[in-house]
């Protein structure tokens, strides 16, 4: 089989993954602004989609490098079935968990899928780059990804909590006219969050596309080509436009009754974490960061008013998603892509 056919498959599967990511996380990004009616829903979706695309295009490549750095699998055609298995496993895991109502996270699923596929293909963990812990903040390899994924929701919670108290202290004597200013600010903060999310989440798939391109043509630069950015950015934007009202309801009103100040604060806390993650190359789960920021804001407002089951779901997603997606990648690779690999070799 021509490796180019498999390369095209990997690119298409990456786009599907990015689309589903946009569908789920884009709705989370837009959720609080829509729930508080600060911005009309269609305008919010349009703004989020636009800035997600811009994030993909202008958001650098630090996260893509981090994703690439979790495996030292050689740049050869046999990585293509591995990537295809990992990505397909992540997509299937997301749909499977949604169908059986198990909490999940696209980013965790992608990492799990890739790890599972690499281990299956190489019959061991020799191509997994663990990297160094290095005081957490300067970790490398898989450790960097793990720290980033697991610490970002906690930081989102803390940022949401603190930021709300600061905002209340600043606005305690404010007139209600400030509400209009807050609604306008939500527009900017939502755009910033969408940009950060677009940069962070599209780069995960873009990093894998570049790996695939290098496998087929080792002379290819390791930089992300513009056409890959446009393709991934468009897939993300289409995902956002597809919109999931259920997620908007869950994030916007399901955790606690969010007001315009809560929404602005949660969005700002999430944007800080997501933009920092994108700039420093830390892959994060935006949906978890946004949900945890909303929980942080809710806890600062009134802890007993928060539906803590959302936090429990997040914890469950932490522990089940990576192993679950890895097992799924193993199955997909063994049943389907392994045979494609034999075709390539043959």
């Amino acid at each position: 089989m021509d490796p180019h056919a498999l390369l095209i498959s990997v690119i298409l599967i990456s786009c599907v993954f990015t689309y589903t990511n946009g569908f789920q996380d884009g709705s989370s990004v837009a959720a609080t602004a829509i729930a508080t009616k600060a911005i009309p829903p269609y305008a919010t979706i349009f703004i989020v989609a636009l800035f997600e695309f811009m994030g993909a295009y202008f958001g650098g490549s630090a996260v893509a490098q981090a994703i690439r750095s979790i495996t030292s699998y050689p740049d050869r055609a046999s990585i293509l079935p591995v990537l295809a298995s990992g990505l397909t496993a992540a997509i299937f895991w997301n749909y499977f968990t949604r169908a059986v109502k198990i909490p999940s996270s696209s980013t965790h699923a992608l990492i799990g899928g890739i790890l599972g596929a690499v281990i299956t293909e190489s019959h061991g963990a020799q191509y997994i780059t663990w990297g160094t812990i290095d005081h957490v903040i300067q970790a490398t390899g898989l450790w960097k990804v793990i720290f980033s994924l697991f610490l970002s929701p906690l930081i989102g919670f803390g940022a949401g909590y603190l930021l709300l108290l600061i905002m209340i202290a600043l606005l305690i004597r404010a007139n209600r006219k400030i509400e209009k200013v807050i609604n306008v600010l939500q527009l900017f903060v939502t755009s910033a969050l969408a940009f950060g999310h677009g940069a962070n989440d599209t780069q995960k798939a873009m990093g894998l596309i570049v790996l695939a391109l290098n496998a087929v043509d080792p002379s290819q630069s390791t930089e992300i080509p513009n056409w890959v950015r446009i393709l991934s950015g468009s897939a993300m934007a289409f995902g956002v436009i597809s919109f999931a009202p259920g997620i908007v309801k869950r994030i916007g009103q399901g955790i606690f009754k969010v007001t315009s100040l809560h929404a602005l604060t949660a969005q700002a806390a999430s944007a800080i974490v997501v933009l920092y993650g994108s700039a420093s190359g830390g892959p994060i789960s935006a949906s978890q960061v946004i949900a945890s920021s909303v929980i942080g804001v809710g806890a600062a407002q009134r802890g007993k008013g928060v539906h803590w089951l959302v936090a429990r779901d997040m914890l469950a997603a932490w522990f089940f998603t990576i192993p679950g997606a890895a097992i799924m990648a193993f199955l997909i690779h063994a049943v389907f892509f392994h045979w494609l690999e034999l075709l390539i070799k043959g």
Binding site: I172, R173, N175, R176, L261
Partner: protein, 212 residues
Amino acid sequence: MDNAKAPNWLTKIFPPQNNFYELLISQSSKTLEGVEALKVWIDSGAQGRCETVRTFEHEADDIVKDIEKKLTDTFITPFDREDIYDLSRNLDEVINGAKSTCREIEALQINVASDNFLKELAATLVEGARCLLATFEYLERDLPKAAEQAELARRSENRTSKIYRQAVRTLFAGDDLKLIAKTKEIYNSLLSIAQRIDIVGVKLEHVIVKLR
């Protein structure tokens, strides 16, 4: 729509411009003064026009207007804007009830001096209004005590109902139908004040549950 609320510990460090706890306390205090004035007037035989209750009712009205204006202007309140509004409105109904009772007694021209039930009913209303004031005073600093006082305020309605039933039974033992009709009107009027106190008590319990 819901609004952001300032936690009590934060308002101690950063005091708000409009202290709604103090405003509600002053309205509740004015309500208590009005109900006490009604009791004093009834105890003294309800002679002439009852000016004191009217004065307190007007002063309470000014506080209600002030609360409403400040609620409209203030972005961050200590608890839900709607709850503050409801408390103030329901509390206003208590002193309005006291004024209506005065008007009815004046209009019906009945001799209240010999009716001990009327005095007893008025005294129970004062107890209820006093418990409401205590609840508002504890609301910011001690929620369990506030809950206790709200419960006591609500119990005053039960006592009022009990006295009311005894009073009606005794009233209907008489033969003067004109007097029975007139006095029954006043009993009903006093009972309705107790019911309004109960409504404020329920609303306070609702707020306490949310604040806990």
